[in-house]
Amino acid sequence: MTITKTGRRTVLVVDDETAMVEVLEGYLRDEGFGVVCAHDGPGAVEAFREHLPDIVVLDLNLPGFPGTEVLRQIRALRDVPIIMLTARVNEVDRVVGLELGADDYVGKPFSPREVVARVKSVLRRGERAEAPPPVGERRVGGLMIDPSSHDVRLEGKSVTLTPTQFRILEVLSANVGQTLTREQLLQRVSADGDVYDRTLDRHIANLRARIEPDPANPRYVLTVFGVGYKMVDPT
């Protein structure tokens, strides 16, 4: 998809078991998603054409024609993320592999919360891919940060950062002079939730060790006690 939709995301749920669809619909609505349902192959393709959902949760075993055929037809219409549901464990490799290219799968039986979690995670993956390209290099004091090449220079000298350190610096430098709470930083730095609250301070300390002339008395990345961090231009 090339268009970033704002507001409510719509999920198309396809399963021949009405009860299954009803449960998933309930959970997804509870999480704020819009939900469209279908119970067979042709109905799924029709519902897709009509509603153009943001993501499809698709059972493999459907009357009419199988989920694999639904996947092919939907993908021919639009490049939309698809999560397969299957009770056939041995089909999984084929479904998620290159042949069909589903984005993820959940084996039956499952916990409905697991399906919701996968929906969110696949959508998030897509959002990151759709994010606008980073703007050109920015300068904060003696620091030069280039988001497109991941290049960081301090007084002209190249600085090597880990990907997490770079993401923290990227977020902070885009908001110079503004205090970001720990939650805001965590949220923006870690789309996958792979940076945790307790490790944030360590990442900041490591970042300071690389970019601060005197890490014990930081001039670029300041601690705002009880709130979070902010980046300032020391010049």
Partner: protein, 69 residues
């Protein structure tokens, strides 16, 4: 043949497990109709289990008709 039995068992289990979880978490009301669907799924599992050959070799590879395709 038996692969379909396992497939059908998992499908019915999926209905029963997901429905009960939705009831427990207050996502859906456990109406008599919905409880009927869960009961039906469990009864189906019982029927399907009876189709599986009783004698499974104690050692070595499982019987061919138990293998999934």
């Amino acid at each position: 043949m038996t692969s379909n039995v396992f497939h059908d068992i998992r499908n019915n289990l999926a209905v029963a497990i997901s429905s009960i979880e939705a009831f427990r978490e207050g996502i859906l009301e456990p109406s008599p109709a919905r409880l009927g669907v869960v009961l039906h799924a469990l009864n189906e599992i019982d029927v399907l289990l009876r189709k599986i050959p009783r004698e499974v070799p104690a050692s070595g590879a499982p019987a061919n008709d138990l293998a999934e395709h």
